[in-house]
C-alpha cells in the first residue's frame, strides 16, 4: 500500500502491537497485577505470543510482575488517550449510537495523528474522562489555556446565568455526591438551564430547580447550546 506513506495507516502487525500495549496499559491502570491474568487477557484478545513479542521489542518486561518499559508505556498511554478521545468525539459531538462507539474508537485510535488528536482534544474542551468514566491521559495541549479555543463541552462552572445546554458527562471526585446528582435528574443527556451562579449554582432541569456548590459545577460537563453544536447535532 503506497498510501501508507501519506497517511499513517498502520500494518496489521503494528496495529496489534499498539493494541496490545494499549490494553496492557489500561489493565495496569486499573490495578491488575497478576501477570498470568494480564497475559491471558491480552493474548486471547489479540493473538498468542504477543506478550513475548513486546518483550523482545523492548516495550515490556517480565520481572516480578509484567510491566511496560518507558517506551512501551508512552505508546500505550498515547493509545489509551486517542481511544478515549475518539470515544468522546463519537459520543458527544457525533452522537453515534451507543453500540457503534467502541468498534469505531478501536479503529480510529490507530489512525489519529498527533495533530488530529490535539485538534479533537481542543474542540472537546480537553475532556478529563471518557464516556465510561475512565481518565483520559492529558496531552500537551491540555496545559494550554481553554478560553481561546471556545470548546463545545464545558464544565458547568464556565456557564453564565441564562445559558443552557445538555449534560454530557459527570466526573465528580466525590462519589456520593455524584449519586445524589444522578438521582436528582442531572444525568447525561438532561437539558439544563443555568439560573444563577452566585452564591451557589442554581440550575433548572425541566420544572425542577437544583442548587449546587461551585466545586461540583467544575465536574459537570455540559454541551453548550450553540449554533455550531446545533448544526453538528443535526
Amino acid at each position: 500500500m503506497d498510501l501508507s506513506k501519506k497517511y499513517p495507516i498502520p500494518s496489521r502487525e503494528e496495529e496489534d502491537v499498539e493494541q496490545a500495549l494499549g490494553q496492557l496499559w489500561a489493565m495496569l491502570e486499573q490495578g491488575e497485577v497478576q501477570p498470568d491474568a494480564i497475559r491471558a487477557a491480552v493474548e486471547s484478545s489479540i493473538r498468542p505470543g504477543i506478550i513475548e513479542e513486546l518483550i523482545q521489542k523492548g516495550l515490556a518486561r517480565q520481572g516480578q510482575s509484567l510491566e511496560l518499559t518507558p517506551l512501551g508505556n508512552s505508546v500505550g498511554q498515547s493509545l489509551a488517550r486517542r481511544h478515549r478521545l475518539a470515544e468522546r468525539l463519537l459520543k458527544d459531538v457525533l452522537t453515534v449510537a451507543e453500540e457503534q462507539i467502541d468498534p469505531n474508537a478501536c479503529r480510529m485510535e490507530h489512525i489519529l495523528t498527533a495533530d488530529v488528536e490535539q485538534a479533537i482534544c481542543i474542540m472537546l474542551g480537553h475532556p478529563k474522562a471518557c464516556p465510561h468514566g475512565l481518565t483520559i491521559p492529558p496531552g500537551p495541549c491540555c496545559q494550554a489555556a481553554l478560553e481561546k479555543t471556545g470548546p463545545i463541552v464545558l464544565p458547568l462552572r464556565a456557564f453564565k446565568p441564562g445559558e443552557s445546554g445538555r449534560v454530557a458527562y459527570l466526573s465528580p471526585q466525590h462519589r456520593p455526591a455524584l449519586h445524589r446528582l444522578l438521582a436528582l435528574g442531572l444525568v447525561p443527556g438532561a437539558l439544563i438551564r443555568v439560573e444563577q451562579v452566585f452564591p451557589a449554582f442554581v440550575i433548572a432541569i425541566g420544572p425542577a430547580l437544583l442548587a449546587l456548590e461551585e466545586s461540583l459545577a467544575e465536574h459537570i460537563f455540559v454541551r453548550r447550546k450553540t449554533r455550531v453544536a446545533g448544526l453538528l447535532q443535526r
Partner: protein, 649 residues
C-alpha cells in the same frame, strides 16, 4: 417537636396487623402528607426536603382492611448516604408487604429511576403520582394506564393535601404487584444472577444493592460469604457497577417517561410566586429579603410574642386574675401552710411553674411555631440555605446546615435529630456542638429578646456580637480540628408555595400540644425539686457552693445559681429566672449582659443533651458537654471582667 409516636405496634416493633405498607420516595414529594391522609394521624409536613428524619408508624385502611402504614425519610436512590436515608434503606430491605412509591408527577423521569430500583427488590409495589395538581397546572399529563402496563404495577394519581385520589390508592394497594425488572447490560445481568444463586429465595431482590456495594446496611444477617462474593464480582468491572446500574435505570426511566408523558399548554402556576421564588435565590434582592424575613421573625416573636403578648398574659391575666384567685382558693381550701406554700409560695407550682409556662413561655413559643411553620411551608428555608451556603462553609458546614440551625431556634432537641440530613459525620458533630453552645431555642430566645428589649441597646449589641463571634470562632476552629471536609452542597429547591392555613394550623397545634404535654410537666417537676431543696435548706447551700463562681467570676447576684440549675432542666426556664430578676430590678446593665450571654452559651437542656447522646454517642456528647461548659464559663467571666474594666456597673 415530636413528629412521631408508635401505635398498634409494641416496643420491639412487632405488629399485630397483617399487612405492612411503606411509603417511599424522593425527598419532598409529599410522603408525610399522604401518610396523614391515609392514617388520620399527624406528622409534620413542610415544603423542604428532609422534614422527616425518622420513620413514623400508623394504622390506616388499605385494600379493605386495617394495615400498618409507615412513613419514611426521603431517599434519592437505595444506595444510602446520610443517616436518614439509611433509615429508609433498612425499612425497604426489611421485607415489607407492600411498597408505595410516592413520586412527583412533575419530574417523572427521575422518580421512575427509583421505581425501577424498588422493582428490582421484588416486593409488591404501587406507584403513586402525588401533587398531580401541580403537574396539571404546568400542562403535564401522564398516561397512567400505559405506565401501569409498562411497569406492571398499579399507578394512581393523588393530591395528598386535599385528599384527592386517596380512596383509589387504598384500593390499589390490594393490587400491588412486583414490577418489571430493569434491563441491565449483559455483564451486570450475569453478575446479578451469580449473586442470586447465593442468596436465599426471599432475599434475592437484594442482589443489585449488594453488587452496587453499599457494604454496610442492607442484607444484615446475610452470610458474610455473600458480601465477599459481591466484592469479588465488583472488582471485575472497569466502571463501578453502582454507576452502570444507575445509568441503565436512568436511561430506561427516561424512555418510559417519554412514552407516557405529554406536555400540553399549562395554565401555569402562580407567576408572582415563581418570580418571587427566583428573587429569593439571587444575591440581589435575596439577601435583602432574607434580612426582611429575619426582621419579620424578630418583630413577630421578639416584639409581639415576647413583649406584648407576655405582658398581657403575665401582668394582666396572671398577676391580676389567675394568681390572686388561685391563691385565695388554695388558702381557703387547703389549711396546711406547707401545702399552701408548695402550690402558691415563692417556689409554688402555680405561682412559679405554671406562671412561667403559660404566661412567659407559651406566648413566645406559639408565635415562634407559627413563624417557623410559615417559613417551612412556603419553601423559603431551602432558599435561605442557598444564600447562606458560603457563610456556613467558613465554619466547615454547608448550606444544608441551615435546616438544623433554624429548627434549633425552635427546639434544639428536634434540631439534633434533623442533623441526620447532613452527609458527613463531621458536619453532624459540628452542628450538634454549635446547637449546644450558641443557638438558643425559641422559648429561651424569646425570654432573652424580652430581656434585651428591657435593657439598653448596648447590652443587646454586646449579647449579639458575643454569640455570633462564638458561633463563627468555635465553628471555624472546630472545622479545622475535626478531620474531613464537608460534603459538597446539593439541594433541590422546591417551588415557593402559599402555606395552607389548615396544614399550618395542624402543625402549630401539634407542636403546641407537645409543648404542653412534655414541657409543662418538666416545669412542674423542676419547681417541686426546687421547693424541696428550699425547704431542706439545701438550696441555700447550693447557692453558697456556687457563690465564688456566680458572684465572683460572673459577677451576678447570688440567687442566679438557681437560674442556672433550672436552665439545665429547661433552658427557657433558666432564662425566665433571670428575666424575673431583671424585672424585679435585681440586675445591673452589666449583669444583664453577662446573664444573657451565660444562659445562651451554657449547657442546653437535659432533653437536648440526651438526644445528642442518642444520636452522636456518649463520647461525643460528653466532649460537647465539657467543651460547652468550659467555653461558656470562660467567655462569660471574661465578658464580666471586660465590662467592669469598661466601667459598666
Amino acid at each position: 417537636m415530636p413528629d412521631r409516636q408508635d401505635s398498634a405496634c409494641d416496643q420491639d416493633g412487632k405488629c399485630l396487623l397483617r399487612r405492612s405498607i411503606i411509603l417511599v420516595g424522593q425527598p419532598n414529594v409529599g410522603k408525610s402528607a399522604l401518610f396523614n391522609a391515609l392514617t388520620g394521624r399527624y406528622v409534620a409536613v413542610s415544603n423542604y426536603p428532609g422534614t422527616t428524619v425518622d420513620f413514623a408508624r400508623g394504622v390506616g385502611q388499605a385494600a379493605g382492611e386495617a394495615a400498618e402504614i409507615v412513613d419514611s425519610p426521603g431517599i434519592g436512590s437505595l444506595c444510602a448516604l446520610s443517616d436518614e436515608e439509611k433509615v429508609t434503606q433498612a425499612l425497604v430491605t426489611g421485607a415489607p408487604d407492600v411498597i408505595v412509591q410516592v413520586a412527583d408527577a412533575k419530574n417523572l423521569g427521575r422518580h421512575l429511576a427509583l421505581t425501577l430500583e424498588l422493582s428490582d427488590l421484588g416486593t409488591p409495589l404501587v406507584l403513586c403520582l402525588n401533587m398531580s395538581d401541580e403537574a396539571l397546572a404546568r400542562g403535564m399529563s401522564v398516561d397512567r394506564q400505559r405506565l401501569s402496563q409498562l411497569l406492571g404495577i398499579p399507578v394512581v394519581e393523588t393530591v395528598a393535601i386535599t385528599r384527592e385520589g386517596i380512596e383509589e390508592l387504598r384500593n390499589a394497594i390490594g393490587q400491588a404487584k412486583p414490577g418489571i425488572k430493569t434491563d441491565y447490560p449483559p455483564e451486570i445481568a450475569r453478575a446479578l444472577s451469580q449473586l442470586k444463586t447465593l442468596l436465599p429465595e426471599p432475599r434475592q431482590g437484594l442482589a443489585p444493592l449488594l453488587l452496587a456495594g453499599s457494604d454496610d446496611a442492607p442484607g444484615s444477617g446475610l452470610d458474610p460469604e455473600i458480601h465477599d462474593a459481591a466484592r469479588t464480582l465488583r472488582r471485575r468491572f472497569v466502571r463501578p457497577p453502582a454507576r452502570v446500574m444507575m445509568e441503565s435505570r436512568q436511561e430506561q426511566a427516561a424512555r418510559l417517561a417519554a412514552e407516557v408523558l405529554s406536555q400540553g399548554p399549562g395554565h401555569g402556576s402562580n407567576p408572582w410566586l415563581e418570580r418571587i421564588g427566583i428573587w429569593t435565590l439571587r444575591p440581589w434582592p435575596g439577601y435583602l429579603l432574607a434580612c426582611l424575613a429575619l426582621y419579620g421573625l424578630y418583630s413577630f416573636v421578639g416584639v409581639f410574642g415576647a413583649q406584648i403578648a407576655v405582658e398581657f398574659m403575665e401582668e394582666w391575666v396572671f398577676a391580676s386574675y389567675v394568681n390572686p384567685a388561685v391563691t385565695q382558693a388554695v388558702r381557703w381550701l387547703i389549711p396546711f401552710p406547707i401545702a399552701q406554700e408548695l402550690l402558691v409560695g415563692p417556689y409554688g407550682l402555680f405561682t412559679m411553674a405554671l406562671t412561667y409556662a403559660f404566661a412567659l413561655i407559651l406566648p413566645i413559643v406559639s408565635t415562634f411555631f407559627l413563624a417557623l411553620g410559615l417559613l417551612e411551608d412556603s419553601g423559603y428555608l431551602p432558599r435561605l440555605s442557598v444564600l447562606l451556603d458560603r457563610l456556613f462553609r467558613l465554619i466547615g458546614l454547608n448550606g444544608k446546615a441551615v435546616f438544623p440551625m433554624i429548627l434549633g431556634l425552635g427546639c434544639g432537641t428536634m434540631a439534633i435529630l434533623t442533623a441526620r440530613i447532613l452527609d458527613t459525620r463531621k458536619e453532624r458533630l459540628m452542628v450538634s456542638f454549635l446547637l449546644a453552645l450558641a443557638v438558643p431555642c425559641s422559648a429561651q430566645l424569646g425570654v432573652i429578646l424580652a430581656m434585651a428589649a428591657a435593657a439598653s441597646a448596648w447590652t443587646a449589641m454586646v449579647w449579639l456580637s458575643v454569640i455570633i463571634a462564638s458561633l463563627l470562632a468555635t465553628g471555624a476552629l472546630g472545622s479545622r480540628l475535626i478531620p474531613g471536609s464537608p460534603a459538597p452542597f446539593v439541594l433541590e429547591i422546591p417551588p415557593l408555595r402559599l402555606p395552607r392555613p389548615g396544614n399550618l394550623g395542624r402543625k402549630v397545634w401539634a407542636r403546641l400540644k407537645w409543648y404542653l404535654g412534655e414541657v409543662v410537666p418538666l416545669f412542674v417537676y423542676a419547681t417541686a425539686i426546687l421547693f424541696v431543696l428550699d425547704k431542706l435548706g439545701w438550696l441555700e447551700q447550693v447557692n453558697r457552693a456556687m457563690r465564688p463562681l456566680v458572684t465572683g467570676w460572673l459577677g451576678l447576684p447570688e440567687q442566679s445559681a438557681q437560674a442556672f440549675l433550672l436552665g439545665f432542666l429547661r433552658r427557657d426556664y433558666g432564662a425566665a429566672g433571670f428575666f424575673q430578676m431583671q424585672r424585679q430590678g435585681l440586675l445591673s446593665e452589666r449583669q444583664i449582659a453577662v446573664a444573657m450571654v451565660a444562659i445562651t452559651l451554657f449547657l442546653p437542656c437535659v432533653a437536648q443533651w440526651l438526644m445528642t447522646l442518642k444520636e452522636r454517642g456518649w463520647k461525643s456528647a460528653l466532649t460537647i458537654g465539657g467543651l460547652v461548659t468550659a467555653y461558656a464559663l470562660a467567655v462569660s467571666s471574661l465578658l464580666n471582667a471586660a465590662l467592669l474594666w469598661l466601667g459598666w456597673s
